[in-house]
Symmetry: C2
């Protein structure tokens, strides 16, 4: 699982720190979009707090995963890699496929059999090979390891690769800058947790800032909550969730190591809350987000309702969503008008 690309002390591997994130931002330059930080009066009224939305649903490839993938693929390309392989529930795979195309490298992506069809289509559009296998992280990792051995491909781990974690951290760094530029200051930042790279990056960026890091996960797949209770990453039994991006049933070791000291709160969000948050963001903020991003919004609404936090940043992690799901959600009542 960790492969050869995760050794933190290996030559050329960047520093896992806030400084490392800022260096990652410099390396990315204008290859990612400066997605806006958006505010909505109507959402704030519903929340009872100021929510600052980092719109990575508008990012290239439809998610913040583009950030880490570009850095990791570029590093391997410079090292003369023959090609890359990655497992993912979807967005990391789209991002690796697009980054590999830009670097002129072949890429193989391993997804669950029930991956979102939109995401599979986007990977193929980027010219990469897709393998769909099983439904668990372990199923996918076994195939990744085979491809590494048989085809000599380099693995880009979505949770363990330091470039990926640093790259994902740039989303939070940009969010903080955007809030500051608008004259605000966050009390907390909320990020969705699948394998944990978003939270890991946010932990690096916010270190020493006094900004609370809140992790949002579906109650159906409570991998971070279970890991924090156990004191180590554990595999949980994943119940069905509409948040297809948050289905990894085990948190990565590196994200866990960073999160255990910095994450102040894990909010386990019910399926109905995810659906309601997705509707709310679409109809009140006019932004289409995928359920993973809606999970963070739902968690932000929960902690806002508790009071005590006036300004809450939210990573709208992605916008790769099946149109059938949007139709289904909009057909249900939208709550108070």
């Amino acid at each position: 699982m960790t492969g050869t690309n995760t050794g933190l002390l290996a030559e050329g591997v960047p520093q896992l720190s806030a400084a490392g994130v800022h260096e990652a931002r410099r390396r990315l330059g204008d290859r990612v979009l400066p997605t806006p930080v958006v505010r909505s009066e109507e959402l704030d009224a519903a929340a009872g707090a100021r929510l600052w939305l980092k719109t990575e649903n508008l990012q290239r490839g439809g998610s913040f995963k583009m950030r880490g993938a570009l850095l990791a693929v570029e590093r391997l390309a410079r090292a003369g890699s023959p090609g890359v392989v990655a497992q993912s529930t979807g967005n990391h795979a789209i991002a690796v496929a697009m980054a590999a195309r830009e670097c002129g490298m072949p890429a193989v992506l391993v997804l669950p059999v029930d991956a979102a069809p939109t995401k599979v289509r986007r990977i193929r559009q980027a010219g990469a090979e897709v393998l769909q296998v099983g439904t668990t992280l372990a199923d996918r990792l076994a195939v990744v390891d085979e491809l590494r051995l048989l085809r000599g491909l380099d693995v880009i781990d979505p949770y363990q690769d330091p470039d990926v974690v640093l790259g994902q951290g740039t989303a939070t760094a940009d969010l903080l800058d955007g809030v500051q530029a608008a004259g605000g200051r966050l009390d907390a930042v909320v990020l969705p947790v699948g394998g944990g790279s978003a939270v890991a990056g946010a932990c690096l960026v916010t270190d020493g800032s006094g900004i609370e890091v809140v992790a949002a996960e579906p109650a159906a797949v409570p991998a971070l909550g279970a890991a924090l209770r156990a004191g180590r990453p554990v595999t949980v039994t994943a119940e069905p969730t509409i948040a297809d991006g948050l289905r990894p049933d085990r948190i990565g070791q590196l994200p866990f190591d960073l999160a255990r000291h910095r994450v102040s709160r894990v909010v386990a969000v019910e399926e109905s809350e995810i659906a309601e948050a997705m509707r709310l963001v679409l109809t009140r903020c006019r932004l289409l987000v995928e359920p993973a991003a809606a999970t963070a919004v739902a968690a932000a609404l929960r902690i806002a309702a508790e009071g005590g936090r006036a300004d809450i940043g939210v990573l709208l992690s992605g916008g790769n969503v099946e149109t059938a799901l949007v139709t289904e959600l909009l057909s249900e009542p939208v709550g108070t008008p």
Copy 2:
């Protein structure tokens, strides 16, 4: 129709010029959101040109109409007005209602009987009175005139009021600044046409810049095209259109006077193109826009397909859309994946 607030030479009435728009921007200050200018690789690929989207669907009140309404209502409040009345297909009414609430003034809004229910609800939420009458501009103007005489209310005309035109022009001014800040330069800017205030404002802002002004209207309500052919505003027979914001069946005199010398092109967009553009913006750009904004996108796609224009700005005028319409549109095929 013109009332007492449209005399261009009256005391205190601002100058209808690019300088007037910049002064309007200063007056607005931070009472409108600095909505981002968004780019999308996927939309650009579909268009074959760079499209720069001014996301006024994310504006306060859900449309760019907030800009002009704030200026006009504020001017009347300062003059000691007892209250305001305005006719609109929806967004100008929402904006006037919100601006009046902020100034502590009563407001009455006159809409067609078949106005979008979402828009009517938003006006009532802002605490204003709603009257729904007929379906034509003439029907609504008659009621506005009655209210002016009977209740002594001041009229805020959505197409003739100079503050409204200047305020709407700030959306185009901000778009141009956003493009410039990103290192780009527009060949053309595309705006939807209902009564004409967006186009009128854009004509002021782009005067002398060499940027082409393209007006987008539904083929079902070709009010600007007909006026340009006739050499004066004429009332057209309005066929049904999903672009509820673009149903005024006659262009305003002031917008016409500005447009006739500056608008290089009127694109009459079919209903199917509006629907397809709305789907495209939702699924590729992850932005929810109302059909009026999609009309501008559809026109931008048409002129992009002709070639010769590398950078095209588009005013995404608003995002106040019925969820039932979104559901219906998404249930149809989305074209090439």
